[in-house]
């Protein structure tokens, strides 16, 4: 059971296809999810990107901002998105497995030295594919049902952008993937940003980009 294409280039799932030989006439064999990614020109490995900075935050103990260290690491993964859709159930596709698009998942990890409160971040991901830009805010991944033990000084956020199958074709390419944002100290009263310095209280920002050769 693997992915195949039909004459019209539609990508479909076929329970019988396991190689070119076992692929029914009129169809072209693609293979598993990895092969499908290559087929649509989206098989990439991205290097981890990181930024380490000194920023300033206020503590309640005294007046004047104090320096803290923050390290932000970004990783990108591209994967095939598929869903079981009842309307697509057939003899050769009993589960109705359907290619719905390609997901670009960016995971960021923030490590920081002690602050008054918790340090989270406000980040977004922008993916340029073809002539479109897909954007999404990053969020904390949902916690597991049994609860999570979180190490103080580390936070993780993630955003997954799905490029729909209807937007994907071999004439289009990725031009860039970008994760950008700033860091915020969260207390029960509200949020304040990590800034350049007490005498320059603008938020420190980071941008991690991956670009693609044309």
């Amino acid at each position: 059971m693997d992915w195949v294409t039909y004459k019209d280039n539609n990508i479909i799932w076929n329970d019988q296809a396991t190689s070119a030989k076992s692929t029914p006439n009129g169809y072209t064999y693609i293979g598993n999810d990895n092969a499908l990614q290559s087929h649509v020109g989206m098989a990439y490995n991205f290097p981890e990107t990181s930024t380490e900075i000194i920023g300033f935050v206020a503590f309640d103990e005294k007046v004047g901002m104090q320096a803290i260290r923050v390290r932000e690491t970004s990783n990108v993964q591209i994967g095939v998105n598929a869903q079981n859709i009842k309307g697509n159930i057939s003899k050769s596709n009993e589960s109705g497995k359907t290619f719905t698009g390609v997901s670009v998942t960016v995971t960021n990890k923030t490590k920081f030295t002690q602050v008054d409160g918790d340090l989270s971040s406000s980040r977004r991901v922008d993916v340029k594919y073809g002539d479109k830009t897909y954007s999404r805010a990053m969020q904390e991944p949902p916690s597991s049902p049994n609860g999570d033990i979180k190490e103080y000084g580390t936070n993780t956020t993630r955003a997954s952008i799905v490029i729909p199958a209807s937007d994907i074709n071999s004439n289009k390419n990725f031009s860039s993937i970008k994760a950008s944002g700033s860091w915020w100290v969260t207390k029960p009263e509200g949020r304040t940003p990590v800034v350049y310095h007490g005498i320059a209280p603008w938020p420190k920002t980071f941008t991690h980009s991956w670009t693609f050769k044309k």
Partner: protein, 200 residues
Amino acid sequence: MKNLLIIFLFIVSISACSQKDNIKYEQALSYIEEYYSNCDKQLLEKALEILDSTSINNNQIVNTKISLYFLLKKYKEGIAFMNALPVDRFYRPYQKEMYIKSMLALNEGDPLKRHFYYEQAILSINSYLSNNPKDDQALADLFYTKLRFESRDKVLQYLDEYLKTNKNKEFLELLRQSISKDISTIDCSSFVPSDLQSED
């Protein structure tokens, strides 16, 4: 009995005031947070107005007001506000002078006078550092104060000189990579996403 009742009423009224002030502080912080997402300075004016109306002057409120004076470029008000604070409320003895002299410099149109104030701020940090050479916080204050008034290239030159003799190499290297741009070039486009920008 009458005295006990008076004390009780006094405690209740103080607690009610403090609760009101906490709500005001939360409201001010939410305005400031919104400012950082759209650069609308009216939000900062509102935040300052709210904080001015509180009856308490704790470190949270003081720190927030200092940032507001810098962001709103209300340097004269900021100087008057900080002059009234005792030196021992700051983490380090030079910091009160660092903030005040920086505001005096930023408020000054004459480049010579501006330079004079800036040099005074640097002098007070250096004087502290001569007795506390391993204080990372003071080193960060020194180079960021320089960056407020000098180009990034020049500050990095100072930092490289410092790196030759100073033992805090790891911290200074990190500081070097943190000084990523000239502070004079920072505007709303540096931190507000382009599709959310309104005005500077």
